[in-house]
Symmetry: C2
């Protein structure tokens, strides 16, 4: 009987790429090289036909939550997405796995601190719909992300990996992901 | 012996306000009106003196995680914060409580759909450090937030409350918070 490989939930905004399934396949193949079974949110191949939008969303959410519960750890792509911070769904998933007591790892394809990114964002004056403002504090712990996320990774025995990607390759660059796979192998296999 | 009131973790970017403790006190007083004990991240009054930044961040994170585990439910201020979506720490906390199986509720002081906000954000061309791009899908389920967050609230028996706040009052407006307190009372007390 083949040995069971630890299962890694692969969180990140790749699900929004033009070819999301292919992007997941590449990550799963890399995970396999490191001894893991990669679990990608789109693996469930849900049949959404005939469902209205609320029912589709409910099915996707339930599927992703069940996939997370089936996994031993998580690697998140925390590259800033449409704002200063990581994709909100990815942040949710990091918290979800953290509460289950499973190791959470992550990388960002931007190297600037949260402080630098927040300052740049504010300088651009893009505050429509938002609740930021000049008197609102910018969390400064020299971290790459909000401390709840960054510390969850540190407390898992790893670190939030920062990787310098080219501007057009922030969604797809996998150097930081590979570092996380090595971290996961150190924590879960060796 | 006084009856134990259900404990509500009050997540949101109010912790970054110029007077964060006062902002929390107001929310806790409102929670008490609805029969709850409000639990605010800054309640722990941690002694951070003499600690370096990593140690400070670690202590705050551990304190918040312990506070969440001590609570029966969560109400999140999901108003977009420095980008299209909710504060990343708040999103993490919604996922954390969801994984523990506790009801998660939330409100946003912006009424526009996630689609409208994402489109506006992209139109402004503010993509520095970010991994968004023209070919990247904008999730469209008529929701106010990423579906993992929005559906977690629906699956808890509530709905993500959208509240029209004035531009300068998005951090402090509490009308949507009151609606959530009523929802929490319906779910947890009555």
């Amino acid at each position: 009987m083949p040995e069971r490989r630890p299962r890694l939930y692969l969180a990140g905004p790749e699900v929004f790429l033009p070819e999301p399934v292919g992007a997941g396949r590449i990550k799963c193949e890399l995970a396999a090289e490191y001894g893991f079974e990669g679990v990608y949110p789109l693996d469930a191949a849900l049949d959404l036909a005939g469902l209205d939008k609320p029912a589709q969303a409910a099915l996707i959410s339930a599927s992703n939550e069940a996939l997370m519960r089936s996994c031993d750890a998580l690697i998140a792509n925390l590259t800033p997405f449409r704002g200063v911070s990581a994709d909100a769904g990815t942040a949710f998933e990091v918290g979800f796995m953290r509460a289950l007591g499973r190791p959470v790892l992550g990388y960002s394809n931007a190297t600037a601190d949260l402080v630098a990114r927040s300052t740049a964002y504010r300088g651009a004056g893009l505050l429509e719909h938002c609740c930021d403002g000049p008197g609102v504090a910018i969390e400064d712990f020299d971290l790459a992300e909000n401390l709840m996320i960054d510390v969850a990774i540190t407390a898992s025995g790893s670190r939030l990996v920062r990787w310098q990607a080219k501007a057009g390759e922030r969604m797809t660059e996998l150097g930081g992901f590979r570092v996380c796979l090595g971290e996961a192998r150190r924590l879960l296999i060796r």
